[in-house]
Amino acid sequence: MSRKKTKNDALYLSDRQPLTTAKLISLIISYILLIFWAFVILWPLAQIVMSSFNGNQGSYISIGGEYKFSLKHFTYLFNETYFWNWVLNTIVVAVATALLTLLIVSFTGYAYSRFRFSGRKASLMTIMLLQTVPTFAGITAFYTLHSIVAAVIPGFTRQLFLILIYAGGGIASNTFILKGYIDGVSTELDDAARIDGCGNLQVYRLIIMPIARPMLAIIALWSFIGPFLDYMMPSILLNDPKSYTLATGLHTLINDQYNMQQPAFAAGGLLTAIPIVILFIALQKELVSGLSSGAVKG
């Protein structure tokens, strides 16, 4: 064992050039910076986790002091607030947003990548430029639109409208991303599928979509996460606390003195991460796989 070690020590096996003193110093500096950066990110997270389980925390989170393990903040969250409503609302909105985005982006991405039509470039530029206007700027228009539609279709709730806003907001950039990915898939595959008897939609569904799965998984994940993170739109659009999404709902725990419950907010924040992590793990295989290898010569 020790002989083997000395042998390895004697041979320099790395592919890189050996470090000079200057390089070593810069390497140490980079590590210090990275560790500092990691600390800046991880320390608040650690505080959230710790505070949410600390029975000694009052309405306000205070750092330091006694630590006593307790689940009382979670109990408070489950019993004294609409937490489960918010979870359900968020998941419904997030899933619907993800599915709707996938559906629309599938069509637009495929069309922009594979078909030549007049106005193709212009329309692509237009939706990209429109994207630079923040969604929030359209808030008055959203109000008006909603009242018009709701007058015709009574079942059209503000939550449904929220889904449309989220899905619509993601279409432009996701179309670009998916178009770029599909551009990289050889059109000979389309030709082959067409000769094998596929129509346009079948070419997409049976050939392109399975190949583009890694990218579709990323798009789904992003659209799913969006509603979990957004506080602004639901807080303005939704008026009943029961219909809030998680971000907006949890915010009620810290935005005024009467309801102030910071540790419960931390506990809620912790639980919010769970569905996202589950989805991430479920999609992990898709996210890392490069399915298109072997399609053409390689």
Partner: protein
């Protein structure tokens, strides 16, 4: 199936001129037709029009006399093998081969039967349940062929199917493709830029350049009787030597008087009308005889020697710098910068009208 192209032309959207135009061609049933041409001559476009992947701008495409212009690719009874193989990466070899039949809603047992049959012919039974990414280039090529075979197509289209294989495998697949063609009893249309593939595989070659058919015929005709200067220069390796000159008193004479050739009787008869006119004379490298002769001889200086074993290619220069390639048996001894005498084999000469570039 008999494939007929009547005055076919293609103009792409947004282009000024036709990519190919006025193509008339008849490919008889069960023929192996090779469409040959340099890159960008429109040969792939022509094949894609036959496949139905590109629309036909003008003219008619007839399969056994039936007009096919507006028929969907899947209904044309064709199968196509692509340059990149275009295997579906997310499906196994078996699924790849079964896909077209599945789309046609054939019975499962029939699909299984056909796939196994094709796999057996192509010796890919071992890989049936591998993904395309797990098998080698040569095997992918076979899968692509298999995918085409299971459809039992009436017309087999191939778009440079061998260009991604290494030289040894390519040689092997050439023979196999011909064998496959004979076994399948189909009409095959094969696009390539490689003249060796064309010469070795084809029953009939169509040489395209700049969107026009330059010559149609059997491989030997291309070599022995090129229809024009382009064909003469394209077919054969090394490239045919072409000399510019004029006919004077029945003799071919170059501008600088370094070459003076007396054509044989048949050529002389054809050249009668060209007395005093500019013509080009072509001769292949192997039609030079070594040694000094009374007439039709040249003296050249050897510049570069390429030894190929059974023969050697001598890249020679005339005193005025004009180049000529001569091939001689490998056991002859030549040295660089030596002057040597050669003479023309007058039966191996080709004469072309310098103005129209057509064969005389």
């Amino acid at each position: 199936m008999k494939v007929e192209l009547v005055n076919i032309g293609k103009k792409y959207e947004g282009r000024e001129s036709f990519t190919i135009r006025n193509i008339d061609l008849v490919i008889e049933s069960n023929q192996f037709c090779v469409i040959l041409g340099p890159s960008g001559c429109g040969k792939s476009t022509l094949l894609r029009m036959i496949a139905g992947l590109n629309s036909i701008t003008e003219g008619d495409l007839l399969f056994d006399g039936k007009r096919m212009n507006r028929v969907e690719p899947k209904d044309r009874e064709i199968a196509m093998v692509f340059q990149s193989y275009a295997l579906y990466p997310h499906m196994t070899v078996y699924e790849n081969m079964a896909f077209s039949l599945k789309m046609a809603k054939e019975r499962k047992t029939l699909i299984h039967e056909r796939v196994l049959e094709a796999a057996k012919t192509l010796q890919i039974e071992e890989y049936l349940y591998s993904k395309p990414s797990e098998i080698s280039g040569g095997q992918r090529q076979r899968v692509a062929l298999g995918r085409a075979m299971v459809r039992k197509p009436a017309v087999f289209l191939m778009d440079e199917p061998l260009s991604n294989l290494d030289a040894k495998l390519r040689e092997h697949m050439r023979v196999e493709l011909v064998r496959l063609h004979q076994a399948l009893n189909t009409t095959s249309i094969y696009v390539t830029h490689d003249q060796t593939e064309a010469m070795t595989m084809a029953d009939i070659i169509v040489l395209l350049d700049q969107g026009k058919v330059q010559q149609v015929g059997a491989p030997s005709e291309f070599y022995q009787e090129p229809a024009n200067l382009f064909v003469a220069g394209f077919i054969g390796s090394p490239t045919m030597n072409i000399f510019n000159g004029r006919i004077e008193n029945g003799l071919f004479r170059t501008e600088n008087d370094l070459i003076l050739v007396e054509p044989n009787e048949e050529d002389a008869r054809k050249l009668k009308d060209y007395e005093g006119k500019e013509v080009c004379m072509g001769i292949r490298s192997e039609r030079f005889n070594a040694g000094k002769a009374e007439k039709n001889g040249i003296t050249v200086n050897i510049d570069v020697i390429e030894m190929l074993g059974k023969e050697q290619l001598l890249y020679c220069k005339f005193p005025d710098g004009q180049e000529v390639v001569i091939s001689e048996p490998g056991h002859f001894e030549y040295g660089l910068n030596e002057d040597h005498n050669f003479n023309f084999d007058v039966d191996g000469l080709h004469f072309f009208d310098a103005e129209t570039t057509m064969r005389i």
